[in-house]
Assembly symmetry: C2
Homo-oligomer: 430 residues x 2
Amino acid sequence: MATFIEPKILKGFRDFLPAGEIARRGLVERMEACFRSFGFVPIDTPALEYAEILLGKGGGETEKQIYRFKDNGNRDVALRFDLTVPFARFVAEHRGELSLPFKRYHIAKVWRGENTQRGRYREFTQCDFDIVGSDSPAADFEILLMMKQTFQSLGIGNITIRINHRGIFNRFLERLGLRDRSADILRTVDKLGKIGRDETLRLLSESAGNAAQTILGYIETAGTFEEILRSITEASGGESPESRRIARIRRFMDDTGIADSFVLDPSITRGLDYYTGVVYETFLNDLPDIGSVCSGGRYDNLTGLYAKESLGGVGSSVGLDRLIAALEALGKGETASSYSKIAVACVKEEDGGLYQTLAGRLRTAGIPCEAFLEEAKLAKQCVLAEKKGAQWLIIPGARPLTDPLALRNLKKRENQEGLSLDDIIQILRA
Amino acid sequence: MATFIEPKILKGFRDFLPAGEIARRGLVERMEACFRSFGFVPIDTPALEYAEILLGKGGGETEKQIYRFKDNGNRDVALRFDLTVPFARFVAEHRGELSLPFKRYHIAKVWRGENTQRGRYREFTQCDFDIVGSDSPAADFEILLMMKQTFQSLGIGNITIRINHRGIFNRFLERLGLRDRSADILRTVDKLGKIGRDETLRLLSESAGNAAQTILGYIETAGTFEEILRSITEASGGESPESRRIARIRRFMDDTGIADSFVLDPSITRGLDYYTGVVYETFLNDLPDIGSVCSGGRYDNLTGLYAKESLGGVGSSVGLDRLIAALEALGKGETASSYSKIAVACVKEEDGGLYQTLAGRLRTAGIPCEAFLEEAKLAKQCVLAEKKGAQWLIIPGARPLTDPLALRNLKKRENQEGLSLDDIIQILRA
């Protein structure tokens, strides 16, 4: 007796069935169209790299989560766990071939052996876009504008992007004599939304002592964009290049008419150490609880690990899985299970070539069309067509290319008889 | 002093710079558009699977080439080395969720630790398309038709698809009393093109003894499609379901007007053991020496390793790297280094928001447009625009949204002055 291998996949990994994959592709394609319209270009890097390259001087959490092994040539290799580190290596390696500022996007899978109990996946897709080699506030702003446009093009333009500047915060900490605790404090502040006010205050007291309440007051500064900017500028010792940068970005927002989507939020710091300037997170106004769907910021040393020349930039990353969950929750998810809305029935199997010719004319007219391959009762073919996500079924005559055609509306369960292919094209375009 | 990690990638792996990645995406997008027009749907599977799943009962070459390791949970895992095995596992696992015949495509990366000296890559992209769950010759034909259409849509429709039927060959071997040597003989015959006539004869003598010359005669049968079909039908003992299938497929070719692109070639067998029916390879008539750019065939037991129900199908695979090499050799490669052909110059950095508004109007009109971010001499901005692959540069006035615009043709080094944005849109669309 034959024994079978149980068909199963690894925990934290996923198959994508057609409906799910069509939804993902649809999202990615719309995002890409937006990136491309801004002149951003795609790149790709290997899934597998030298572990040394990916881990850098790092360690800690990353080291524990990374898929790392010896390959057949005994090289110490690992699967990429994000797109930022490979991008840094890429820019250092190809510096001479890139024109700065370099605007690139990269949509690809990454792998982390995370704890799946928290609903995390071990294989997931990241969508990163960055401008490297420009220190201008216009670069910060372009990333923000592209975020706004991207969500607009996905049909979820009702967003709030909360921005802040780490540099202003650091000037504020400097005045409190806490500059050396900055990393700790920024990480604590970043958790405010998750752990709440009291716990934040408790943690702040640990790193900032008596100043904890002052810091909490700072990050909770309320008011309009301008009021908050004025208030934190004051708290950080008056005007500075950083506060002027925020004011400049604000002007850009006004000039493009998108200021309504932005809030200056002194509590946004991003946990990651490599951000040095503007930072931001994006929330869906109709679904704020899902958390940030697109975050990023400015860093001033992307390539430092791999090259002497220090290159700064600004970028953002969309979490595709969270975005899809959000769209589903909002009832805006793509639900098609096929790209083809019409099929040609198979009345007589030997006429298959003629059915393909019919279908081919629709395809040439820009209408995807599946040809059914096997003879079966029409009722059965209608059921199959519906299962496959089609709305129409063409029923050819005995001489498929010359006899009039019948068109079945699968939802209404009605036939229209005596049609030409042109009639059908008209009906489908209507 | 800081020490740097040398930015390098693993041998056999590749970075894709924008121009290369744009060319790859362009190809993939055109292929996908063709697949979708036939009603094929995309799926995706994990890059990493249980090694047991991927290796099956296998071993041999695959076992040596596969990237296999123990993950952090001590599971025996491996990177997929093709898309066929994961597809078999996928179909077995999701059988209840799929409507048969199931027409899917899958374009994704696979990994093999191959010898890179032969110019092979260790990470490469496969494009597979299959119809599972139909035994009809109409399914065989649809794959062939879609291959023809795909190459047509890539601008290289001048192809020859060489097809054959393994079953007819096996009937022929049966008559020679060599049915049990079939696998060996098919593998030898598959090498004819590579190793030449004499070496083929020598190898055939080893497995087939005196019959070697007869076999060589069979695989070298010449004539028209019909003549060859008649001749091999005779040599295999007369009409059979297999010869009737080829005749039926031939009729489909005639009925769709694509018969000219097909040759019946008894020497095509495909090396792989799992093919059981029709097999085929695709050659570019303008570049035959590059070898087959798209091959495949019918298999009658895709899922046997993972499920009791045996499901057959037919499919094909495009080698993306070979295809790109071919297009380049034919001077038909995509060479754009950007999607955007026009940029807005930055005359005064603080007007960045207004430049984005200008650029945004072009984007809305369907014209990708990059906005330059930093003030620089116009001559320098022209050079940058050209480097980035743009053909036009918009030079805004002091009041960017109301003053007339200048448009620089970067190739001709000419300015047109006094234009409105609508004028520019007209010029770009012309």
